[in-house]
Amino acid sequence: MNETKPSMITLDHVWLTLGDRLILKDVSLDVQPGKTRVILGGSGSGKTTILRLILGLYRADRGSIRIEGQEISHLAEREMFRIRQEMAMVFQNAALFDSLTVRENVGYRLWEHGRLLSDEQIEQTVQESLKFVGLEDTPEKMPAELSGGMRKRVGIARALASGAKVLLYDEPTAGLDPINTCMVSRLIQKLKTKGVTQVVVTHDLETAYQVADHIVMIIKGRVLFDGTPDEIRHSGNPAIREFLDPGSMPSEWRPQPKGDEGVARQQADLL
């Protein structure tokens, strides 16, 4: 018998307009518990908006958003705080609180809401989370003293320490060097083995293939593809192929480099 688990997150025919721009058009997707879903797409395609909708930071114009079966589209902000307890987000630029130390950032939610935990238990959780991301020596540093990669890892530690069932990542590897990119991808994979439900927004294919159970591809606010990493690799859809392998685009579509380099390239093409 084929038994399917109820979805952790469900977006059902969601439409969203911000200002006078239609951002999402009839987007539907679901995330199974314990699975990692990657949302792929170019800049401005509406990927981050989906994370914000899941977290209730934006309200959909139409459609339904359910977290563990509970409809959240019509919940008031104060009711959303309870739902957000089950989720944590790693922001693109980490969004660490400038006025707090790394330790205070990581333990923020526990000190703020974790009335059941003692200070010792919170300190222990913070230490374990920092150890998990390899930053156990930096608890008293301020966010301004950290590199971009370290900030991202502190962001992951903060999400991890919260004990959330669902982790949302907004471009977790953007702007990182290859070593830090690899480190962040490994952290996401490690969390996957722990059974954490994860949604990763990225345009980094390497990271997407490494961490994804399922991939959704968004182009101009519409879902263009929904399937496994293998299926997207072998997709024949021209728009997907163009995104996965920009080198396969006809030469006249490719962006032309400017200045001397462009001239040199054009001369080389002529030869």
Partner: protein
Amino acid sequence: MISASFNIKSKLIGYVLVVQEFTFLCAQTVAGLVRPPWYVRETVIQLDRIGVGSLFIVVLTGLFTGMVLALQGAVQLEPYGATIYVSSLISTSVVRELGPVLAALMIAGRVGTGIASEIASMQVTEQIDALRAEGTDPIQKLAATRLAACLLMIPILTIITNTIAILGGWLVARLYLAIDSYFYWTWAFEALHAHDLILGLVKPIVFAFIIAMVGCYAGFYTSGGTVGVGLSTTRSMVSSSILILMSDFFITKLFMAYSW
């Protein structure tokens, strides 16, 4: 013509929207003062920043205001042989008008812009969204704590400004006008009535509300990266200064209608 009327209409709608957003933020912040959770640590930090941090500028403002009032007042009163009443002039004008308004303008420049730029920076770096994602109400944590600190500290700072201004006037009266201390202090207190003191305390409470809420509004409704932070800070200073001067007129008018 059509384009001009469309522009006016859209600008009007924009202003109405600002008033609506500002009113909504004020209502939520005031509700945040009375409903838990109360961020005691954050409030104490703000009390220190707003109160202790502004002490130096309000002392200087008060001192030189009192001193210059004594000099100018003496020039006006001397032809009538009434130089001795300069302390009455100083105490009433400082307690009723100059102390609250000048202190508020100085605090708006220091504290209001500080609130606006801090919250605006948090807004453009997604820290406000991060707070919401962590299950914290940013209005309760950032706006309510700052409003509470302003409501507590700005009246105290105004009392300090008034006291220092009257002391500054006394310095000039003693050093340059040869007025006896006994007469200076006697006429200074004689001139003050209960309604002057009430007016002098009501104004800073209203100004505190304006400084805190305009700063918070400018911060929360920031967009456009670092340029937006700069614009919000400027907007906060300009708007709160204008609102302080406007509300000063209306409070004075209201008190005059009922007290005199």
